[in-house]
Symmetry: C2
Subunit: 145 residues, 2 copies
């Protein structure tokens, strides 16, 4: 099913650069976004199979997009807590840089969902791509540079 109002064949298939440079940057800065297509969801308060119903894109493609806050594992630490009630998301592979005009504007991390508790969790087929914006992109958007 295409999103309501779009002709057949049109869908939300953003590039990494569009996600970071338009959607994430505008979200971080509280700027308006042309179409409210990405809901805010606390991803670690949900199990993966609960996410479909929270998506604004009732797409046949099993791909959904959310803005999510990061949850610190320890109050003063910088590690992110990626556990849900039923399992946890574990990163796989290396983070990849997202480039725009020859500079890095963000990073993309791939995570896989494991059911149960580490290190005994059972690997599932659920995959999440987490996009982070570079801090420098957050600071100088109002600047001259």
């Amino acid at each position: 099913m295409a999103p309501v109002g779009l002709p057949p064949g049109f869908r939300f298939h953003p590039t990494d650069e569009e996600l970071v440079n338009y959607y994430l940057k505008r979200k971080v800065h509280g700027q308006s976004i042309e179409l409210d297509i990405i809901p805010e969801v606390d991803l670690y308060k949900c199990e993966p199979w609960e996410l479909a119903e929270k998506s604004f894109l009732p797409s046949r493609d099993p791909e959904w997009y959310f803005f999510g806050p990061r949850d610190r594992k320890y109050p003063n630490g910088c590690r992110t807590n990626r556990a849900t009630r039923a399992g946890y998301w574990k990163s796989t592979g290396k983070d990849r840089s997202i480039n725009y005009q020859k500079r890095s504007i963000g990073m993309k991390k791939t995570l896989v969902f494991y059911q149960g508790r580490a290190p005994q969790g059972i690997r599932s087929n659920w995959v999440m791509h987490e996009y982070r914006i570079e801090e420098s992109e957050c600071n100088n958007t109002m600047g001259v540079q």
Copy 2:
């Protein structure tokens, strides 16, 4: 570049089924198409590198969509002539069936462009997917079945 008027991240990424069951079927029957996004081009009168400018989608994705007539190699034969001035399109792999509601509605053939004349042509990176609609889909659309 997204097509004019679409928010960032939205693009024309049709499924095989949408291409056959909506765009190709409606074209064959002369029915209206919601958005005139697929131009009619005589593909074998063009070289692959001339196609970009004929697309209605000035997309960064190097993927373009066209309706094309089939050109017979011999007046009474059923082989398709896929030669251009600079080379020829040669099929690769097997044709695949496109299914909808458990029946085949069309076929998809993959072709690669070779520069020069067969069999001495030099294989290029240009790839074309040719969609055909099943004749049965053309006949019974007005029917009751």
